[in-house]
Structure formats: structure tokens, C-alpha cells
């Protein structure tokens, strides 16, 4: 009897709570008004607009004066070409968006620029280490490749998934070139450590493309002998361009 009455009471309470539209608990004083969040869908156009924001951000970061001012002669032309590539991808994305009656997006991804983009540039500007330029380039290209790879899992239209992978593949190639410019030759292909046990840059860090945050150490050495680590995440629900 106790069991059945308990279950009945619980069910009744839940159903009663669901059916009521008014608050059932008395409140003293002012109660804040709850504003329901807008119901936004992650559509293929949203993903393409976000991709535009990421490509714009990559081009802006690689052509920022903090980068160009300290890039070595050899790497400067390569990084400039990479930046131009990102700008050219905008046209590819523009065509894909227009074909779906979407609205193009020409700004950088403000949330991710604030979350880590500007931090990375500020660290490079304060450290003034030419090696940071290639480290940032590798991180940015890895991030863009991972973004497209991730977007495949969110894209509804199969043909568009292939377009995403094509664009991501170009960033992957640039990432491999940047990694080779840091740690060249076949000795740089596989993950390895130096004599002090510090991980070296690997051109092929894993068999499958990773979607975890891209980590890059930038800027000056601090008082405890370490450098700042910047974590770069692919766009998520709060940084998509709806």
C-alpha cells in the first residue's frame, strides 16, 4: 500500500506541476522576469557563415602586424600566402551560401577572437620571438582544419559535407607545411621528445584528425620559467554565427 500510494503521489505531483502555468511557490519581494532564449537551429547556412567567420579570423591573425613584424624572411612569404588562401576560401563559401539563399558574413568570429585570438596576438607582440609566428600558423591551420572536420558531423546535406572536407583538407596541408618548417625532414613526421623530454612538433601527430583543443605556447618566458599556453577550440553553440 505504501509503495503504490507513494508512486501515485509522486506521479500526481509531477503531472500537477507540468500542467500548471503559474508559479506554485509563494514569493516575497520582486521576482526577475525570465526571458526565454530564442530557439536557434544549427542549419547548413549557419555552419557556412561560421566557416566564413573562421576563415576571416585566420586571415586577420596571420596578417596581423604582431605576426608580420617579427616573421623571418623565409617564413614571411609562406605565411602571407596562407593568409591569402584563407581570403580566397571566403569566395568559395560565399558561393555556397548564396546557392542556399543565405546571407554572407564578412566579420571575424568575435567570440573566439576575444576568447583566444587576440590573446595569442598580444602574447606574440610581447614576446617578439620569431619562432612564435610559425607556432601560431600551425595552430591556426590545425584549428581551421578541425573546424571543417567537426562541421561535417553537423551538416545535413551530403554534398556540402564534401565541400567542407575539401576546404578543411587545404588547411591540413598548410598545417603540415607549417609543422615541417618548424621541425623539418622525416625526423619530424612522428611524435617525439627532445633530450629534455619536451615534446617536439610532429607533422603527423595522430592517425585520425583530432577535435580536441589546439594548444600552443606563445609569448615571453615568465618568472617561473614557463610560457603561456593558449587553447584554441573549434566553434561551438555559443560561437556559431546564426
Amino acid at each position: 500500500m505504501l509503495r503504490s500510494s507513494g508512486a501515485l503521489a509522486a506521479t500526481s505531483a509531477v503531472l500537477a506541476a507540468c500542467s500548471s502555468t503559474k508559479p506554485s511557490i509563494a514569493r516575497i519581494g520582486e521576482s526577475p522576469t525570465t526571458v526565454k532564449l530564442e530557439d536557434l537551429a544549427v542549419t547548413d547556412i549557419v555552419l557556412l557563415r561560421t566557416a566564413m567567420s573562421m576563415e576571416t579570423m585566420a586571415a586577420a591573425m596571420l596578417s596581423d602586424t604582431a605576426v608580420t613584424a617579427i616573421a623571418s624572411k623565409d617564413s614571411a612569404s609562406v605565411i602571407a600566402a596562407f593568409s591569402t588562401d584563407h581570403t580566397s576560401h571566403l569566395e568559395d563559401l560565399r558561393v555556397l551560401i548564396s546557392a542556399r539563399n543565405g546571407e554572407v558574413y564578412t566579420e571575424t568570429n568575435a567570440k573566439l577572437m576575444q576568447a583566444y585570438g587576440q590573446t595569442a596576438l598580444d602574447l606574440i607582440a610581447s614576446g617578439k620571438l620569431p619562432a612564435d609566428v610559425l607556432a601560431l600558423t600551425l595552430a591556426v591551420e590545425t584549428l581551421i582544419a578541425a573546424t571543417y572536420q567537426y562541421f561535417v558531423s553537423l551538416t545535413a546535406e551530403p554534398a556540402l559535407r564534401a565541400d567542407m572536407v575539401r576546404l578543411g583538407g587545404r588547411s591540413s596541408r598548410r598545417a603540415a607545411v607549417a609543422a615541417q618548417l618548424i621541425n623539418g625532414g622525416t625526423g619530424g613526421f612522428a611524435p617525439a621528445n627532445d633530450k629534455d623530454g619536451v615534446a617536439l612538433v610532429a607533422t603527423l601527430p595522430g592517425a585520425f584528425g583530432s577535435l580536441s583543443a589546439v594548444q600552443v605556447q606563445l609569448g615571453p618566458v615568465n618568472e617561473v620559467g614557463t610560457r603561456a599556453t593558449v587553447l584554441m577550440d573549434t566553434p561551438s553553440l555559443n560561437s556559431l554565427i546564426y
Binding site: R3, A7, R161, G169, R173
Partner: protein, 177 residues
């Protein structure tokens, strides 16, 4: 029955009742979210995925030939890429499970000699393999298989660019511009 035990029983009954009552509500939301979403798997994709498996199996056979005679870092690097292709074949085979065919083990080429002399040929094969997988992504419906192939293409693009550099291409040419 002691007071404490009785209270516990009532509390657990209340909690259990709430879960039972709430379950259909959550289930309703879940099914609404899934409606209209792309399928995770589609049996119609199996033929195209088996073609990808076949390609990866042949890449494995090609790299097995390529590593013969290589030494030191070159051997380590090419064995790493060989291992990647073995992993891709295993992943596709695992995905297809009982629907997997027995793939060909015929190499796509017979690369022999120093790595510098065979790297461009291998880079071309990597490019072609990535293109096959990318085109497959554009035709299959299942999201899980598309996601798997995307994670493979991302790294095969790196293979291609790195091998182009080893073959003597400039950094900008190795990107494919």
C-alpha cells in the same frame, strides 16, 4: 520498521515515481530532436564504403613495398604512414562489420628506391585516396561514416603535403597552390 527506514522508503518511492512520470516527457523531447535529422547509418552507403576500404587496403600494400630498403628516419616516417593506413582499413572494416568485403591486397604502385625518389608518387596516391574519400562523403547519407571519413581525409591531406616537401617541392607548392 524504524522511522528512518520508513522515511528512506518514502523518499525513494517519491524519487522513483518522479523518474517514471518524467521519462515520457524526456522521451518526447528526444524524439522531437531526432526528427528530420540525417541518419547515423544507411545500408545504401555500404558499397561506397567498401570501395574506400578497398582503397585503404591497397594503400597498405603499397606502403609495405615502399618501406623495403628504407632506413632510419625515413623508415620510421613511412612506417608511421603505413600504420595510419592500417588503422583506416581497420576502422572502415569495423564500421562495416559483417557487410565488409574482403578487400584487395594488390599495391597501387611499386615504389622502390630512396624516399626522395618515391615521395612524389606516394603523395599523388595520398591525394587520390583523399579525393576518393571526399567524393564518397558527398554521396553517402550516414553521418557516422561521413564523420569517420572526414577524420581520415584530414590526416591524408597532411601525408600528401609532407611527402611533397620531402620530394623537393617548395612550401607553397606543397600546399597545392
Amino acid at each position: 520498521m524504524s522511522m528512518t527506514t520508513r522515511r528512506r522508503l518514502i523518499a525513494s518511492l517519491l524519487a522513483g515515481g518522479a523518474v517514471v512520470a518524467a521519462a515520457p516527457l524526456f522521451a518526447g523531447h528526444a524524439s522531437a530532436a531526432e526528427a528530420g535529422a540525417p541518419p547515423h547509418r544507411d545500408a545504401a552507403d555500404n558499397e561506397a564504403l567498401n570501395a574506400c576500404l578497398d582503397r585503404e587496403s591497397r594503400m597498405v600494400a603499397t606502403y609495405r613495398k615502399a618501406i623495403v630498403g628504407l632506413t632510419e628516419n625515413d623508415l620510421i616516417a613511412m612506417t608511421l604512414i603505413l600504420d595510419h593506413h592500417i588503422a583506416y582499413a581497420h576502422a572502415l572494416k569495423g564500421y562495416l562489420a559483417v557487410e565488409a568485403i574482403t578487400p584487395s591486397s594488390a599495391p597501387l604502385a611499386s615504389p622502390t628506391g630512396s624516399l626522395t625518389s618515391i615521395a612524389r608518387q606516394l603523395a599523388t596516391l595520398e591525394d587520390q585516396t583523399a579525393t576518393i574519400h571526399t567524393n564518397t562523403i558527398g554521396t553517402i547519407k550516414g553521418l557516422d561514416a561521413a564523420t569517420l571519413l572526414a577524420s581520415i581525409v584530414t590526416v591524408e591531406a597532411r601525408h600528401a603535403a609532407a611527402l611533397e616537401l620531402i620530394a623537393g617541392a617548395s612550401p607553397i607548392a606543397a600546399v597545392g597552390n
